[in-house]
């Protein structure tokens, strides 16, 4: 099969063994990413957003296993040996995290951490690598990059560190950039800067981007397509307009309604989805959203709704559309 998808994920499932039983963190997830496109992944905390991408980057915790298929272009990469994976990881596919300090080594200068990749993967000389590192820091808007490159991570502010992370992720011109809540820890004004930067970079580099976030506002401004997760499964996918203006799944609908908006004077009380997020360790039989859903039917409690497509790459996992 030849497609122009850069990344194709099929039937990806990820499980964790814990002393208290198995956790099904990711269940049967399917999606793909095309060049230059931004995919937004939204969902409640613990819904499996991060684990999908840790699985495909081969970065799962030791107690986790994944099954299914992940193809980078036409090459199967799920469960590859890490030696083979390293040819792709950080080179063609990079990931940035919420807390930059976890992925920066506090004891090494930024220059060292940035040139290492280039020297190793691109065979560049130290001097060339340093030049490229400085150019990249400059590109992500770090003032005085030539001097700053010789500083340690703790000498940067939170926003600056996130810029450094983005610069590092883009060093080898990756085709896929996975951003896991890159702005959640930042202030709104700095978040706005970083989002602007990501928008710009995408125009320049045509990188396929995955934006994991719980902020629907970020998705609205940045993404082309959206994938909504609930309880370890994808419950709805569609273009950003489909999702925001014509959502089909009750969870998506509830999420959008419960989002406070800065551009609107509010009514008396906020719309709230009742109940608590599900516990992945003992999901109910049937739909994971049943206890909080306003449309719940008898069928929802016994049978699990499958993700069903209805034209134009849209899909939703809910019985409501079936009309009983």
């Amino acid at each position: 099969m030849t497609t122009n998808h850069i990344l194709t994920v099929e039937n990806l499932s990820t499980r964790f063994q814990t002393p208290d039983g198995e956790v099904e963190a990711v269940n049967n997830v399917n999606f793909h990413i095309d060049p230059g496109e931004t995919l937004g992944v939204v969902g409640e905390s613990g819904s499996g957003k991060t684990q999908i991408f840790l699985s495909l980057m081969g970065l799962l915790a030791k107690n986790g296993t994944s099954t299914g298929s992940v193809r980078y272009k036409d090459k199967e990469i799920l469960n590859l040996r890490s030696r083979d994976l390293n040819k792709i990881r950080g080179v063609s596919m990079s990931m940035i995290f919420q807390d930059p300090m976890t992925s920066l080594n506090p004891f090494l200068k930024i220059s060292r951490q940035m040139t290492e990749v280039l020297v190793e993967h691109r065979g560049m000389s130290e001097a060339d690598a340093l030049k490229r590192a400085i150019a990249m820091l400059d590109r992500v808007g770090i003032p005085g990059a030539a001097q700053r490159v010789h500083m340690y991570p703790h000498e940067f502010s939170g926003g600056m560190r996130q810029r450094v992370m983005i610069a590092m992720a883009l060093l080898c011109d990756p085709e896929v950039l996975i951003a896991d809540e890159p702005t959640t820890a930042l202030d709104v004004t700095v978040q706005a800067q970083i989002l602007d930067l990501l928008r710009d970079l995408q125009k320049d580099f045509n990188t396929a981007t995955v934006m994991i976030t719980h902020d629907l506002g970020v998705v609205a401004g940045l993404c082309d397509r959206v994938m909504v997760m609930y309880g370890g499964r994808v419950v709805e996918t569609g273009t950003v307009r489909d999702i925001f203006y014509d959502s089909h799944h009750p969870y998506t609908e509830g999420l959008l309604k419960s989002m406070p908006r800065i551009d609107r004077a509010n009514e008396d009380s906020m719309f709230a989805i009742p109940g608590q997020p599900p516990n992945l360790q003992n999901l109910p039989t049937g739909c994971a959203y049943q206890e909080r859903c306003g449309y719940v039917m008898d069928r929802c409690c016994v049978e699990r709704p499958l993700l069903k497509g209805f034209g134009d790459g849209r899909a939703s996992a809910c019985f409501r559309e079936d009309g009983q």
Partner: protein, 302 residues
């Protein structure tokens, strides 16, 4: 909607009759501890040793200070009832090892308890109040640390004579220093936690905050350290006994027995081996339990 209302109805009917029991962190830890084979095995062995020590007089026809003139320094012999043999005074070694266990375990437990009470209170107060109070209290600990305590204990023994009570106090007084430091460190980091601040905001008194909020939350590392202190105290007591400063004859401890055995190691190996095996076994057991507790109390480390 049916499903939901059904569930709430169910929950409400349950609520009318019964409060749901919670699973405390202690219970979780206990469950994890009991999954650890080495720790459970150690607890069983220690239990047996303790039990033997308690019922020692019932197990043997001989008393610990009774001299059996017929068998002076004889090897183990099942027929005459001296199953571990006898010592140079013709006293039954089996009974003496178990009586030694009484003393050694008692010293270990009591001295540790002394260090626990002083150390935890002292450390929690220093860490909780912080600032100048903390500096002064911890400087005092530093000063005590730098004194050559072994020497101090030996001096005490020489001046006041061999007194088992003194041993408890002396050992406890040495061990609380480390305990205080551990507790203080834990308290310092706890002090900034929101639940302590919430208690403050409500107007709970400092004294109650320390005993209700601080101490229960530092108990984890304290218990681990405690299980490692007991064998240390037993060893220190043995060392004192080895130097001839331990308990008074005819009472005995493992340290005393080992030191006597070591003197006659060539002629009568059993006099060294039996107490030594008991001592080593006990030390190992405490260490395994300590390790098990550490894992059980720190769930991140599963």
């Amino acid at each position: 909607m049916m499903n939901k209302s059904e569930k709430t109805a169910l929950l409400q009917s349950a609520g009318a009759t019964k409060e749901i029991e919670g699973r405390s962190l202690w219970r979780d830890a206990r469950i994890r501890l009991f999954r650890n084979k080495a720790a459970v095995g150690s607890m069983i062995i220690l239990g047996i040793i303790t039990l033997l020590a308690i019922i020692a007089p019932l197990l043997s026809p001989y008393a610990y200070d009774q001299i059996d003139w017929g068998y002076i320094q004889e090897g183990p012999n099942w027929e005459n009832g001296h199953i571990f043999g006898t010592d140079g005074n013709g006293r039954d070694l089996f009974v003496r090892v178990l009586y030694g266990a009484r003393v050694s375990l008692a010293v270990g437990l009591l001295a540790t308890a002394v260090s626990l009470i002083i150390g935890v209170t002292y450390g929690a107060i220093a860490g909780y109040f912080g600032g100048k109070i903390d500096s002064i209290m911890m400087r005092f600990v530093d000063v005590l640390y730098s004194l050559p305590f072994m020497f101090f204990v030996i001096m005490l023994m020489v001046v006041f004579g061999r007194n088992i009570f003194l041993i408890f106090v002396a050992l406890g007084a040495v061990e609380w220093l480390t305990m205080a430091r551990i507790v203080r460190g834990q308290t310092l980091s706890l002090r900034r936690r929101e639940f302590i601040e919430a208690a403050h905001a409500t107007g709970v008194s400092n004294f109650k905050i320390i005993f209700r909020h601080v101490i229960p939350n530092v108990l984890g590392p304290v218990i681990v350290y405690m299980t490692l202190t007991i064998p240390q105290v037993i060893l220190t007591e043995s060392f004192l006994s080895f130097l001839g400063l331990g308990v008074q004859e005819p009472l005995t401890s493992w340290g005393v027995l080992i030191s006597e055995g070591a003197k006659v190691i060539e002629a009568s190996t059993w006099m060294l081996i039996y107490p030594a095996v008991f001592l080593a076994l006990t030390l190992f057991c405490f260490n395994f339990i300590g390790d098990g507790l550490r894992d059980a109390l720190d769930p991140k480390d599963r």
